[in-house]
């Protein structure tokens, strides 16, 4: 990794007013949540916490994806990548530095969200739930940053890259649901069922490459605490870390094979 490159990306984030935009999005999410929470007939706090957590999570992901995509594509379009790679920075170091920089932005963002929730509802939140929610959100943002860098390096159109990364995120949030449906599909012995059986096998194979974002950063943790013993810090770190590394290595492989 290269410190100068990390600093370069972080400065470009400030220059692009991405931090300011994300702050605005957080403020908008919290305001909406407070408004909706105050109009709830009971459990107003729980209402506002769930809405704030969920809205900030999605707003943060969208902001991170859009910023990372356009930032990466601009590096290519303005030939900055050519310049950077002409310096004594290896291609793996380039990818590592870029993902680290975007990961830092994601971490700051998630940290800010946790602080906002704690500042507003600290005395009424389950702290174990808030901590795990924040940590898993950090992992989610790092993972999404890595995915965006991967798609950003591979796809030449910024719009397509953003859309594909958003689709990847949505799929990652829904994959558990799809697997559940696949597991509960009744099977017979006809030709149709055999075809379905193989299709479900293919789907199982696809799900191997999709992170289970539906299991982490659950807004119910904020109001009920961590009641699901299956998901803990170990799962969050291993799952998020392995997937982020897969995407980083895949991006490095892609960049190493590219001719400039």
């Amino acid at each position: 990794m290269n410190r100068a490159l990390i600093k370069f990306v972080l400065i470009s984030a400030v220059r692009d007013k991405i931090i300011l935009s994300l702050l605005f999005m957080i403020a908008f999410s919290v305001s909406t949540s407070l408004f909706l929470g105050s109009s709830a007939i009971i459990e107003s706090d729980k209402f506002a916490v769930v809405y704030a957590g969920s809205l900030m999570r999605v707003a943060g992901v969208l902001g991170l994806i859009l910023f990372t995509t356009f930032s990466i594509r601009r590096l290519f379009d303005s030939k900055e990548v050519d310049f950077i790679l002409a310096c004594p920075i290896s291609r793996p170091a380039f990818v590592g530095s870029v993902v680290t920089a975007y990961g830092i932005i994601g971490t700051l963002l998630a940290g800010l969200m946790v602080l906002v929730l704690y500042g507003l509802y600290g005395d009424r939140l389950f702290l174990d739930g808030l901590t795990l929610w924040g940590v898993s959100l950090v992992m989610e943002y790092i993972l999404i940053a890595a995915a965006t860098v991967f798609f950003g390096l591979y796809i030449s159109s910024a719009a397509s890259c953003a859309l594909i990364t958003i689709a990847f995120y949505v799929l990652a949030r829904l994959i558990g649901q799809f697997l559940d449906i696949a597991d509960n599909t009744p099977m017979g012995h006809g030709i149709k069922d055999t075809v379905m059986h193989y299709m479900l096998m293919i789907f199982d194979g696809v799900s191997l490459f999709i992170p289970r974002l539906d299991l982490i950063a659950q807004s119910s943790w904020l109001i009920y605490g961590v009641t699901d013993s299956v998901i803990g810090y170990v799962y969050v770190f291993i799952h998020g870390g392995v997937f982020a590394l897969i995407l980083v290595v895949a991006a490095i492989v892609d960049l190493l094979r590219r001719q400039f």
């Binding site: 909706l36 109009s39 709830a40 007939i41 009971i42 459990e43 729980k46 209402f47 769930v50 809405y51 969920s54 999570r57 999605v58 949505v170 949030r173 829904l174 558990g176 649901q177 559940d180 449906i181 974002l213 539906d214 659950q218 807004s219 119910s220 109001i223 009920y224």
Partner: protein, 242 residues
């Protein structure tokens, strides 16, 4: 360069389009969206998909929808006009998403439970009975009991609910909740059964219950159920008091 003729054509077209717009506006000006009553609920899987797996967000959204359903365009809908069967399905859906929350049970009990239609109230009672049997949720069972007895005027159903309340899993609840069945039975004339139940409660609870509660029950047994308790030694002290 555009000729004057081209400019004239476009200007005329603009005026004509405005005229068409005014006509369309006049047609739609007084038309209002019509409420087609409570919509049929989606499946649990649909809610999970719509909310990207964040079911708690889905629960709160459903709760908010139920709180405001029927209020549209500055108008309110009378409770008798709601489709309670559909409402009941929404309650069950929300219960599947979050069985811990009090939000939808509260709406069911205190808002939709205000309906005067006895058939409609069955959906509310069934839902509250299910929710109320869980630990820490006995108050919804009491609410179901109240609606069944006072609004639906179905003492048999109320007695069934009171029995569930009596045997509730949650030991931390007020002592009066133990004697609702006996009191209801007494009210509908089943005084002998009421006496037996009340006597059992005194027997079981005299060590743990508050003395005031015990005294109330002894008073009820000896005064209101006097025809069955005349030979009961429990009443000797009650009758001989100064």
């Amino acid at each position: 360069m555009f000729t004057k003729h081209t400019v004239f054509i476009f200007q005329t077209a603009l005026i004509l389009l405005f005229a068409v717009n005014i006509a369309v506006w006049s047609y739609a000006r007084d038309k209002q969206a019509v409420w087609l009553n409570v919509p049929p609920p989606p499946t649990y899987e649909t809610i999970k998909s719509i909310t990207l797996g964040d079911t708690q967000f889905g629960y709160r959204t459903i709760g908010y929808m139920l709180q405001n359903v029927g209020d549209f365009g500055g108008k309110n809908t009378s409770l008798r006009d709601y489709d309670y069967e559909a409402l009941g399905k929404w309650f069950w859906l929300s219960d599947k998403i979050d069985p811990q929350a009090h939000y939808v049970p509260f709406l069911a009990a205190y808002y939709f439970g205000a309906s005067r239609d006895k058939d409609d109230l069955s959906y509310i009672i069934d839902y509250l009975v299910e929710v109320g049997q869980r630990p820490g949720r006995w108050r919804w069972l009491v609410q179901a009991f109240y609606i069944a007895l006072r609004k639906q005027e179905d003492p048999d159903r109320a007695i069934e609910i009171a029995e569930l309340l009596e045997n509730h899993i949650d030991p931390r609840r007020p002592e009066w909740s133990y004697r609702l069945r006996a009191l209801t039975l007494s009210k509908i004339g089943e005084k002998e059964t009421a006496y037996i139940l009340m006597r059992q409660l005194v027997q079981k609870g005299y060590k743990t219950m508050h003395p005031n509660e015990i005294n109330y029950m002894i008073g009820y047994i000896c005064k209101d159920l006097a025809e069955f308790s005349k030979d009961d030694p429990l009443c000797n002290r009650y009758r001989n008091r100064p």
